[in-house]
Amino acid sequence: MRSRRKVEASPAEKAGRWADERFGPSGPMRNLLNKVFPDNWSFMLGEVALYSFIILLISGTYLTFFFDTSMTEVKYHGHYTPLDDVTMSRAYSSTLKLSFDVRGGLIIRQIHHWAALLFVAAMIVHMMRIFFTGAFRKPRETNWLIGSTLLLLGILEGFLGYSLPDDLMSGTGLRIAFSIILSIPVVGTWLAYAIFDGTFPGTEIIGRFYIVHVLLIPGIILALISVHLALVVKQKHTQFPGPGRTERNVIGERILPTYAAKAGGFFALVFGVLAVLGGLTQINPVWLWGPYTPSQVGAGSQPDFYMLFAEGSMRLFPSYETHFPGYTISSIFWPAVVLPGVLFTLILIYPFLEARLTRDRASHHLLQRPRDVPVRTALGAMALTFWVVLVASGSNDIISFKFAISLNATTWIGRILLILAPPIAYAITYRVCLGLQMHDREVLEHGIETGIIRRLPSGEFIEIHQPLGPVDDHGHGVLQYAGAPVPKKMNGFGDLGRKALGFFTPVEQTPANGHDRDGHGGEDKAKELTGGRR
């Protein structure tokens, strides 16, 4: 009896055999499941973007069941009575239907909108993390390019979706978009006519934007995300310097079971936050704006946050129109086409620019702390400051209104800050980086300030410093800075607890002086690692 039961395979084993005999996935699948994920909070930012995108796909599909892309004019007779008998496009009336005549439709629409904002925001913050820690360096330049393209596509996708309901706000955005395309020298008129099927607004634009919004760009984004993630698996994660971490390994936890549980749970948490936002915080209440008509616009009209930089640059740019005999270059060409183009080009080429200027041809898998690369950090702060000034200027009318400042004053403040603030941010960030570096060195050399004051026999007062490790004959610490955080407070030692196992006795030597990387010393390593804790 016992032996027979042993021979019989479990259902799971049967299923495994079935798959293995047909697809032979065992080896690659095992290696994939054993992929190691370093544990650092900042590595979740990209995940937030990924999960928002999945939520966008799910909620967006639901919306397509009800949305109508036609721009045919109809009289509204739905349940939202304040707009009863108003003439509007079918696109707008189906958005109202979605919000008022579909049970639970409104929350899905609002989740979709919030998810779009979170998608772009998470990409921006993820990109900042990648930038400031140098994760874009060789061999990951390709993923930087893909990521930057995803940001650009995400912004474009967001704008297209925002344009679909054909409400007063989105129609105004479309008209500005038409004017921006129109401003491109030589081909602008033809290009704008090709996209809008003639002059603004025409009858085709929402249908065209719709198919690009629900099929073309999501498809490209999905494909790029797949390559992005495949490259992360192939190139493996970067990691922050720390105990045992070298250029030749990744330390963390595997997919099964811990990471899968954490990531799955985190997806639910992101979804939960978006559900709460979508339910409790109203977003883009198109029924309050009313249907689009070219003669009206709302006061305080502005786009979603990711378009504010372009809006701000259009507001700040001076009235500078170029005239040739018979031809004109519109003033909005510079702030709305050239400036975003230059910004994105700079973003795209940055890894190559930095590699060339620093003559750094090596592969890097250990991340840098922003303070250790002051020039890059300062450049990043400079770029962010520029962007933030543009974003704030994109809502300078609201700022003027809320703080009772003259509109002209906020415009001029924006113009001046756009020129002055980035270099100031550069200088301040650079000094802060150097200061932080010096403090790290100081603590490594002299130890942590204990707060204990001792009076010497001579009457002199000194503060006792606790060295972090062994000291030389002069009482100076011999530990070298290794790119990892240095404890700055006595209770900072406690913080190190679990994370910094073996901090003072690295379990693995750096590649420069070590060859203790063989896979057979597992037992000894484990002892050393845990030895630091017990």
Partner: protein
């Protein structure tokens, strides 16, 4: 990867007998090691099973999952039972969407927090080291792959058969070009639409409700948005026009050739901003300024619509107006220049 330390990375595959004798955990560890992944620390969170602390952790996790179930249940109840239809004057529908969001949030938070806490509190604690090799392929793979590609290309003879090389270039180029041509279906030849509006001589100025405008309809210092009284005039994107009645004593410095465009103290400008095409909607009576709410360009009415602040570069085009025999406003002609934002073909 150089061969000198390459042999370290080759794990010794266990024999079939050894495999059969291994426990599940040993197999898992051996498999990981075979892929260059070394579990250097693996510890149960609660080495002694059944302690109070373990049970507490387990209860915490399962209470999270149950909270999730509760949230989901709440969602379903709200979805079915809470009034959701919009009724003017009855606010009960207002609770539907927020309640759905709260319940859905609780449901997903419960599931998410449960899963994360499970991983953090109950699953074995691991420190795993994965080897990383740079460059990713060894010399053999790199050189053989390169040779395969180069040999494959060389076998086609494309390098020495220059006629073939050129003709395939011409052929593929032509096919690529052909593929672009259907895009021509998108092209629409501009036929001067950007220069035209529906305004022509004798067309009446009507309001959005279709009523024509008489001078006595307007107070001094007021603005009305007017449209041409032609079919489609209300919807035309370039037609909206602002009719302003100035107060007594206010004098407009007319631009060149526009000295007689006004009718008494009445003046009409295109409503389409010369910056990005938004409707210039805000009229500040006291200063006689028009403000575009999109990018805050400001136009001075008394300077004949000249921009005085902000990004707009050109004055608002002025519509010459008159009053017909029946006492209604009419256009004396169309606009004398293109309305709205600038474009390439626009003469100065």
């Amino acid at each position: 990867m150089t061969s000198s330390d390459g042999h370290h990375d080759e794990p010794v595959q266990p024999t079939d007998e050894q495999l059969a004798a291994m426990s599940q955990e040993q197999k898992m560890l051996a498999g990981a090691a075979a892929g260059g992944v070394h579990v250097i620390r693996r510890e149960e969170r609660f080495p002694t099973p059944g302690t109070k602390a373990e049970k507490r952790a387990e209860r915490l996790v399962s209470s999270m999952f149950l909270l999730g179930a509760l949230g989901a249940l709440g969602f379903m109840v709200v979805y079915v039972a809470v009034p959701w239809r919009f009724h003017l004057g009855n606010n009960s529908y207002r609770f539907f969407t927020p309640l759905l969001g709260a319940c859905m949030g609780i449901a997903l938070f419960g599931i998410g927090a449960g899963a994360v806490l499970w991983a953090k509190k109950l699953m074995p604690e691991e420190i795993v080291v994965q080897e990383r090799h740079d460059p990713a392929s060894d010399a053999f793979d790199f050189q053989t792959t390169g040779a395969t590609i180069v040999q494959g290309v060389e076998d086609t003879g494309i390098a020495r058969r220059s006629m073939l090389r050129r003709s395939i270039g011409v052929g593929a180029g032509a096919v690529g070009l052909m593929a672009l041509f259907p895009l021509g279906g998108l092209l629409r030849k501009p036929r001067g639409e950007l220069f035209r509006t529906p305004w022509t001589a004798g067309v009446r100025l009507i309001q959005y409700d279709g009523r024509p405008v008489r001078p006595e309809d307007m107070q001094p210092g007021s603005l009305a948005t007017v449209f041409p009284d032609v079919p489609g005039g209300l919807e035309d994107a370039n037609a909206p026009t602002m009719l302003i009645r100035l107060r007594a004593g206010e004098k407009v410095t007319a631009r060149n050739g526009q000295g007689d465009f006004m009718w008494g103290t009445y003046i009409a400008f295109s409503k389409i901003c010369t910056h990005a095409g938004c409707p210039v909607s805000l009229y500040e009576q006291q200063s006689n300024r028009l403000l575009c709410p999109c990018h805050q360009s400001q136009f001075d009415v008394l300077l004949d619509g000249t921009p005085v602040f902000g990004p707009a570069a050109r004055p608002l085009p002025q519509l010459p107006i008159d009053v017909d025999n029946e006492g209604y406003f009419v256009a004396r002609s169309g606009y004398h220049e293109a309305v709205g934002p600038a474009f390439w073909e626009r003469p100065n």
